[in-house]
């Protein structure tokens, strides 16, 4: 029985925040060992991914091909480490596999590969394709007559610079009653890309307004406010139109030396940076654990 289906046992906001920190530490460790990959792009999405995998998504790690599961598509495939961390923490594959990231002979590829890694629904990595792929999945769900099954597509600001994303946005509305309504697009709008800020390189401006203009239900939230993320994600279930959640985020979130700073895209942490980042995240984890215990004790009385 998928744990996330039971509202009684669904983790609360504080616990989700703790899991986000766990996933962040996993990412730092993976990248420090791999010496390659996109750490800051993974960290900006950690809160969103934690909310999805620990609460919102209906999935069953014991049965990755469960027909009734929701689907998660990582359109920003370069943030693969955060997806791998979430999958490993749920038992789709052993945690130890995370240390094989980007290594020859291991299954964790630089970008998600559905043919190699359990739990990866579709291969991504070339920006702009994920929303279209997600729409195809959503259309198939309607053809199969499934009830209340959704597709969550996590996109980057770079994804939204690709024209194909807007072809998909148009088609999702056109096909809303044939499956498009099942789509939730989540934009991890961290405002930093390889060559600079999005404002410098190619300003995409009002992302929420753009999705709204394409006919989507569209909201903008703080992508590090766990309660807001959960509320926004849960509000999209049962919608009659595709829904976009534009998350204002900070690249490198949770690691002070990286957060919101240009120059880390696609660059792994040095050993010193990794140690510093892990100390910072573990301190955060300890305070979150303490807070969670206080909350639980409070609930008991």
């Amino acid at each position: 029985m998928p744990s996330t289906l039971d509202p009684e046992s669904a983790p609360g906001i504080a616990e989700l925040g703790l899991w986000a920190t766990v996933l962040r530490t996993d990412c730092v460790r993976m990248l420090a060992v791999a010496k390659s990959g996109h750490l800051d792009s993974s960290l900006s999405a950690a809160d969103i991914v934690a909310a999805l995998f620990y609460r919102v998504l209906r999935h069953d790690p014991k049965d990755p091909s469960w027909a009734d599961r929701d689907r998660f598509v990582l359109s920003k495939g370069h943030a693969a480490p955060i997806l791998y961390a979430a999958l490993a923490r749920h038992g789709y594959f052993p945690l130890a596999d995370l240390m094989g990231l980007r290594k020859i002979g291991e299954h964790l590829q630089g970008h998600p590969d559905m043919g190699r890694t359990p739990g990866v629904e579709v291969s991504t990595g070339s920006l702009g394709q994920g929303l279209s792929m997600s729409l195809g999945v959503a259309l198939a769900m309607d053809l199969d007559g499934r009830e209340d099954q959704r597709v969550y597509c996590l996109m980057s600001d770079g994804d939204c610079q690709e024209g194909q994303s807007w072809e998909a946005a148009t088609a999702a509305c056109h096909f809303a009653d044939r499956g498009g309504r099942r789509l939730t697009a989540i934009v991890d709008y961290n405002h930093l890309q390889t060559d600079g800020t999005t404002e410098q390189v190619m300003d995409i401006g009002d992302m929420r307004g753009k999705f709204a203009a394409f006919g989507w239900d569209s909201v903008e939230i703080d992508g590090h406010d766990m309660a807001a993320i959960v509320d926004a994600l849960e509000a999209t279930r049962g919608a009659d139109r595709p829904a976009a959640i534009v998350c204002q985020t900070r690249k490198g979130r949770g690691v002070a030396s990286m957060e919101g700073r240009f120059g880390f895209h696609g660059k792994p942490p040095t050993p010193e940076q990794a140690v510093e980042a892990l100390e910072e995240l573990e301190a955060k984890l300890a305070s979150q654990m303490a807070e969670l215990q206080l909350t639980r004790r409070g609930e008991e009385h």
Binding site: G115, S123, S126, Q129, G130, M133, L139, A140
Partner: protein, 330 residues
């Protein structure tokens, strides 16, 4: 199964066979990008509107949607013109379909210059090369209506990604009826001993006509091989033919780079090198004109094939040699 004795376009066979597949298999879905009348997928759309998705002029979107559908258990057939199926949507086909090894069929109509009047922007002459180079992608170019019908029907039973190339103009039939099977993908349509004419698609009936000309005008016995599956190529049939004749001409409505000619030359170079001349498009784009005028303009005709065969035959006594490769030696 409705075969044709009259000249008919291979795209018409696709439309008819797709409809048959739709009736037999609920998981077959079809997608098009605002060209469904030209590609003939509209027939499927009329009978199965719930399983038909016209995405408008957005071919990249179509290919990635097909990826999502296939990843969720459907068997998508995507049709558009060859230029857009390959050139415009290459990366989408590459990552979403080929890399994932999903059972998506890319039905590309209007391949080559024989589409005529629309000219260079629409005349796709490097699609076979692009799709041959793509890992895990099969490349299939049927010769006539009847073979196109078989190719489309059989595509359902194969799990590999497939690129199917169809044409716009009515094409004389070379198979009297819908063949029972595609086999390994290459058929010897006419036996001969002096030169092999190895052709695909619209050039197959022209190669047969060229063989007639060579026989009547020069007394040359030409063997004609139709290579329908260009990747993976049936190297045994090709080797058997060139080992017998010692010299070959390939013919395709495509650039002579990367297509059938290179596929045949690769097989020959490794296993049995003989002179192989190519009929096809050089380092040039198409032009406007009627389809047949375009074919004439670029020498993609029976006469063009026969002339190349004559050139090749001049070389034969100089560079040809006894067969290095014989089936009974293996």
């Amino acid at each position: 199964m409705a075969g044709s004795g009259e000249p008919s376009a291979t795209r018409n066979a696709y439309g008819a066979a797709l409809l048959e597949l739709g009736r037999d298999h609920a998981e077959v879905v079809a997608l098009d990008a605002d060209l469904s009348v030209s590609t003939q997928s509209a027939k499927f759309g009329a009978e199965f509107p719930d399983r038909f998705f016209n995405v408008g002029a957005a071919e990249a979107n179509m290919m990635s949607i097909a990826c999502g559908l296939a990843a969720t258990g459907k068997r998508p057939y995507c049709s558009t013109f060859a230029i857009f199926a390959t050139g415009r949507a290459y990366d989408q086909v590459r990552l979403g379909i080929a890399h994932n090894e999903l059972p998506v069929r890319i039905a590309a109509s209007h391949g080559g210059v024989s589409l005529g009047e629309d000219g260079a922007s629409h005349q796709m002459i490097e699609d076979i090369a692009l799709m041959r180079a793509m890992p895990r992608m099969q490349v299939i170019v049927p010769a006539d209506y009847n073979q196109a019908y078989r190719v489309t029907l059989d595509s359902y039973t194969d799990d590999a990604p497939q690129y199917l190339r169809f044409g716009r103009p009515a094409t004389p039939v070379v198979y009297d009826e819908v063949p029972a099977e595609i086999g390994d993908g290459a058929d010897v349509l006419r036996e001969g001993s002096d030169v092999s004419l190895i052709a695909c698609g619209h050039m197959v009936w022209r190669a047969l006509e060229a063989a007639d000309r060579l026989q009547s005008e020069d007394g040359v016995s030409a063997e004609v091989v139709n290579v329908c599956v260009i990747k993976p190529i049936d190297s045994q049939t090709v080797l058997d033919s060139i080992a017998k004749t010692g010299v070959a001409v390939t013919a395709e409505e495509h650039r002579i780079v990367g297509g059938l000619s290179d596929a045949v030359r690769q097989v020959a170079a490794e296993r049995h090198p003989v002179p192989i001349f190519a009929v096809g498009m050089g380092d040039e784009f198409g032009v406007s004109g009627t389809g047949e005028a375009c074919m004439e303009h670029f020498g993609l005709t029976a006469r063009g094939i026969a002339d190349r065969a004559r050139e090749a035959l001049l070389l034969k006594p100089i560079v040809s040699h006894p067969p290095l490769h014989r089936p009974d030696w293996i």
